[in-house]
Symmetry: C2
Subunit: 419 residues, 2 copies
């Protein structure tokens, strides 16, 4: 591309929100401004909102250094997010023409999309279309997902904060479980997000330490789940201790691929990518255990908070998210397109990591699962290798900016009406 005046940037967020995704947004914004771009647009609700012509000028929202710091500490997706799958180019060429027309009208040089697997599919398709039509716009993906299931990157921003929240909360729940004696014993089943990958559920092992045994069992979706074996395991555990805590992925399923949650669920919700929304796994297992063993049970869903609890965010995660946002912007500025930023780990302890860019075609729609040998042979716990991997990602905190006892988030007048 011939040297010419830098023009504008547009950035969007897509997929499930996290506690770190806005830190990446702050990183994109800062680097775009530092590198001399004029306007940094934010598309509202990702590519779906963009198709409806909805976007903002981020300068109206990030006016001061304090605003940027608040943005880093704001959970959810500041710009709004979407779960919108672009059609294949041959299916709807008009849609691509429309997108590029708007991009050209806005004088966009760089298009940054912060998201997970499905979002990288958007980057792939747009950059493919750009190559075919000779567009000079660069499309770069910035990884984000609490699920940590993106291919080629050591881990994804958002995961560390979710893991820290899960480790902290599970430890508190375990401690709570010690307090009350129940003659029958008590089994607490904690349901953690993760449809196919057990990264989040495995992070419940972080609660283990000199002052806590950690969960008594951890069931990941990587291993087929058998209810009878599970009940026997519960029975065995109850022989040793009166309060048992077990963590399970929402996505555990039997050998036929039937989700455990489906076995006890009445309502089903399927998103645009055809993913089933899962819930009720812990509840269903508690009902079974209570019936078969007769002990007291508690079902706890960590629910939305595992992706939204910025009050318990990891410093490593928030800073890496910022860095990765900046790296995505830098890559686009330097001419990369059809790429995603990845994190490379150089060492576990001391933790060292850097970023590089990789071809998005090798990432999109692929999933990285917990390696089989990071799970114990019997499939009911993670190994030390898993813990060595996740531990650096939860270090440190980002002190919330607290006003009147409650963490403050970024909000400008009229912001909510935009979404």
């Amino acid at each position: 591309m011939a040297k010419r005046k830098k023009r504008n940037v547009i950035v969007g967020q897509s997929g499930g929100p996290t506690a770190a995704i806005n830190s990446s947004l702050a990183g994109v914004y800062r680097t775009a401004k530092d590198r001399g771009y004029n306007t940094v647009y934010g598309m509202l609700h990702g590519i779906q909102g963009f198709l409806e012509g909805r976007f903002i000028d981020l300068s109206d929202h990030i006016k001061t250094g304090l605003d940027a710091e608040l943005l880093k500490r704001t959970p959810s997706a500041y710009l709004g997010t979407c779960r919108y799958k672009l059609p294949d180019i041959y299916e709807n060429k008009e849609m691509y023409e429309q997108i590029f027309e708007t991009l050209d009208k806005l004088e966009i040089d760089c298009f940054i999309y912060i998201g997970g697997n499905d979002s990288m599919d958007t980057i792939k398709k747009l950059s493919d279309y750009g190559i075919v039509t000779g567009s000079e716009i660069r499309f770069v993906g910035c990884p984000k997902t609490i699920d940590n299931d993106l291919a080629l990157t050591d881990h994804t921003p958002g995961y560390g904060s979710a893991a820290k929240y899960i480790g902290t909360s599970v430890k508190e729940i375990i401690r709570d479980g010690w307090s009350l004696e129940t003659p029958t014993g008590q089994i607490t089943i904690i349901e953690i997000m993760g449809r196919d990958a057990g990264w989040l559920t495995g992070s419940s092992a972080l609660s283990k330490g000199e002052d806590c045994d950690g969960p008594d069992a951890i069931y990941l979706p990587e291993i087929d789940f058998d209810i009878d074996t599970f009940v026997e395991h519960c029975r065995d555990l109850l022989k040793k201790k009166s309060s048992i805590v077990i963590t399970v992925s929402e996505g555990i399923h039997d050998a036929n691929g039937t989700y455990i949650s489906e076995m006890g669920n009445r309502i089903e919700y399927i998103d645009a990518f055809g993913h089933k929304q899962l819930t009720g796994t812990a509840r269903y297992l508690c009902e079974i255990v209570s019936e078969k063993i007769g002990c007291k049970t508690r079902a706890i869903e960590l629910s939305t908070l595992q992706r939204a609890a910025s009050h318990c965010a990891s410093r490593v995660d928030i800073l890496e998210a910022y860095e990765v946002g900046g790296a995505a912007m830098m890559a686009a500025d330097e001419g990369d397109s059809g790429k995603m930023v990845v994190i490379n780990r150089l060492s576990d302890d001391p933790y060292q990591a850097g970023t590089e860019v990789k071809d998005v075609h090798k990432i999109a729609n692929d999933e990285r699962l917990v390696p089989r040998n990071w799970i114990t042979k019997d499939g009911t716990y993670v190994t030390n290798r898993f813990i060595t991997y996740v531990k650096p990602l939860i270090q440190g905190d980002v002190a919330p900016i607290v006003v009147d006892g409650i963490p403050r988030h970024l909000y400008v007048p009229g912001y909510q009406e935009l979404l």
Copy 2:
């Protein structure tokens, strides 16, 4: 009582655990030691464990200043708790004889019990028996309950931290709700603890501020709940916004006293005090709303974490809990018996409060509900008076002592086996 050498103290914890109950334990211990008592025993699992002869010497657990600091930051009940109701004296005089025999054998001068309504019933009965039999042992209650429903005290330790956690978490959930657009709109129903009193659910209004609207409706158990009116309210709210968040107490019930949770629940658990364990209120309401309105719904139970999340504890609460523990010990040392420490608020802003002791007969088995005029006329929100009341109680934090990214709790070798 004639002046004589100070001997020993015993302290117990009872009822639902909280994030602050161990800070009170630390306060009792420190004051007992400062006032020259010899051994400070801790009964394991309250009066129930004591009846089985289970107690420890707290000096084996709190050896250093750091141990005391860790104890203040440790959620749940360090000594274990119970939900054990002493029989009336006439029903089982032998049990009382047994208790006092053991107390005398241990050379106990002061008996401190940290707990809520039901626990104060224990202090009342023991001090009554002591008076009748001419015992010189002093029985003093130290208030504790996240439910904040004890009579005569401005508030109870444990409530502030739970309220801070609820305010913070509800704000994060609200923010999360803004991120995704759903064509049908989305209603999130958050279920919060509170059987009869709405103090905890009301505290969800703390999420309201310049950067957040707070929940769109708050339903407390003080007001009879009508499902049809609720559905109409949801319908109205959805006309104004696409993401609605509503908080409900687990104890909301219809005009006949039937709990909403019972309407959709299969399993029931009743504790020793005859209280129904409630759960599933949010889930049931979501099913109804989804069916009647056709919008997307999310049911979130804050569950155990609202009483265990010491990582989000309020500094005011933790320090007051410590102070109240010390005040209970001081009162017993100075000759009070059959009393409970209460907190008196002198002013809201600047917040000033002190302690005094009150007759436990006026407290036990009584419940303090949210005053009707602290709830809006239509019964779907709390008033500013409520917020002015709760705000001082959530101020400040107690920085967790973090090891390897996770808050550390107090644990001495073999501790878990004791419980």
